[in-house]
Subunit: 303 residues, 2 copies
């Protein structure tokens, strides 16, 4: 079933204890789209500047099931750039530099042929832009968004407004605490879930995630996949969301059982993504590799 993603496309430079990459393909919609494409066709919406190398998005184009009709190559603009440096403990990182460039301009338009999308992921950006994009996607039956600390801090009202209009939210544990002012993550998650229509996924990095359902008061914990090899965690959160939404779109159902399993799939996809820089690991694997690790994860977590 149709799955649409809107988000950033980045030219990333990443330094990590195991090595580095310069000017590599990155950005939230890129990681999301590749991850989701293992499960379902993806409609891709994003903006780059005219400095973007012509073949930069080739890994997405080569997938065969990622429709790039929503890619806007904007004349006179420059592509978003990010440079990060991970510590020896790769759970810690510093941002060396950010050039917002085209991301600081007007957002993309959703192409007409994408407007009937049923499943939608609004990757992290200003909630006003997320609202604008949402308004162009009136047929969607499941809209999930990501957000981040600066919008919670500076644009809380707008964000709360957006949340009331969407079905699901994916955010980090620290962001859930910040959004609710709680000190207990379970209470925070329950409160967050009441701000959206259906569910919230609180991500805890290597410690996994918690699924909160609005209304039933239940909390579903999913442990992290025990990753021995972490080269570059950049994009892991977006790959998680991509795996999750891809699985939902593939099954064309979003009941709680499917949602729970979708989060486990997201966990597995993210655990593979972070084993190398950029999309390198994704480009080496297929759905069978994901299913094999999923089966192993299921066995290791069943008691």
């Amino acid at each position: 079933m149709s799955l649409l993603v809107t988000g950033s496309i980045g030219i990333d430079t990443v330094e990590a204890p195991c090595g580095m990459v310069e000017d590599a393909l990155g950005g939230s919609s890129v990681y999301f789209a590749y991850a989701a494409s293992f499960f379902s066709p993806v409609r891709f919406v994003g903006v780059v500047g005219e400095d973007c190398p012509p073949d930069f998005l080739k890994p997405l184009a080569d997938r065969g099931n990622i429709d790039l009709a929503g890619l806007d190559v904007r004349k006179g603009s420059k592509t978003f750039r990010w440079h990060g440096k991970y510590h020896e403990d790769v759970n810690q990182r510093d941002t060396v530099s950010v050039e917002l460039n085209v991301l600081g301009e007007a957002g993309p338009r959703i192409p007409q042929e994408f407007r009937d999308s049923k499943y939608v992921f609004l990757a992290n950006t200003h909630p006003a832009l997320q609202m604008e994009l949402l308004a162009q996607l009136e047929s969607a039956s499941l809209v999930v968004a990501d957000t981040m600390d600066i919008w919670i801090e500076n644009d809380r009202e707008l964000l709360v407004d957006l949340l009331a209009r969407i079905d699901g939210l994916v955010l980090n544990d620290s962001e859930a605490l910040q959004l609710t002012g709680k000190s207990n993550i379970v209470r925070a998650g329950i409160e967050c879930s009441q701000m959206v229509r259906r569910f919230v996924v609180v991500k805890k990095g290597e410690h996994g995630s918690l699924l909160f359902i609005n209304g039933n008061g239940k909390v579903y914990p999913i442990p992290g996949y025990p990753a021995e090899k972490v080269v570059d965690p950049t994009g892991a959160g977006d790959s998680f969301a991509g795996g999750m939404m891809g699985y939902i779109a593939e099954n064309d159902i979003a009941d709680y059982q499917t949602l729970h399993r979708a989060i486990a799939y997201g966990t597995i996809v993210a655990s593979i993504e972070l084993e190398d820089f950029s999309l390198n690991r994704f480009m080496e694997i297929d759905r069978g590799d994901i299913d094999a690790r999923f089966a192993e994860f299921k066995e290791l977590t069943a008691f």
Copy 2:
């Protein structure tokens, strides 16, 4: 089957955001014993001073299946005292004061009638004392120990010596990183598991735990129980170990499947313990309450 615990008995003062207790019953062997007694008879070994109020250990005595023959009330000595203060985020705490008192003296002796114990838990103390206690328990078929940062820092050789002679180790994630010098918790856990005979459980507080089996290279993640109400986390780690070892002793088998389920039981027992100060919550519940929450946890974590 016979389960023996050695560890501290403390007169605890605890300040937490929800309230405080003064001079309450605490200590590693106390929490362990009470938690384990829901599953199996327990043989209790520990030392107090003559200042210890006569009824101080009555909650343990009243259980009916905790044998206090190993309780040493030492003339002229004073009982261990601990005073801790939790932050608004109860994952953070400060030690206000510690009086080692009798814990700084010679360790307890294992009573003759306890020396045939099959399952043994050596709660955290100096590895030299753990070694002494181990030497008195030659019939044990499964010995598990706890440890802490100061022994890893100051008595590493002794500790490594001890580990080679025991079956299992339970420790915190930060301690596993410290013991191995790794920055990845999975690699650290695998290396720790190779230092003992059979297995290591790495505890991650609210994020659950990881079970590492020496030899098979597998890592079993167990999420934390999503606890909405955390009044006082004191004793949660020892209650976890008590639930785990109690379940193993009850089933009189320690294969990996039992071990995995034992850790889930430990998780549940700890999640109940921290809902009130001291042993207060334990004194309100029975095995049925534990089994009910276990069943709920199993359902919430199965995907």
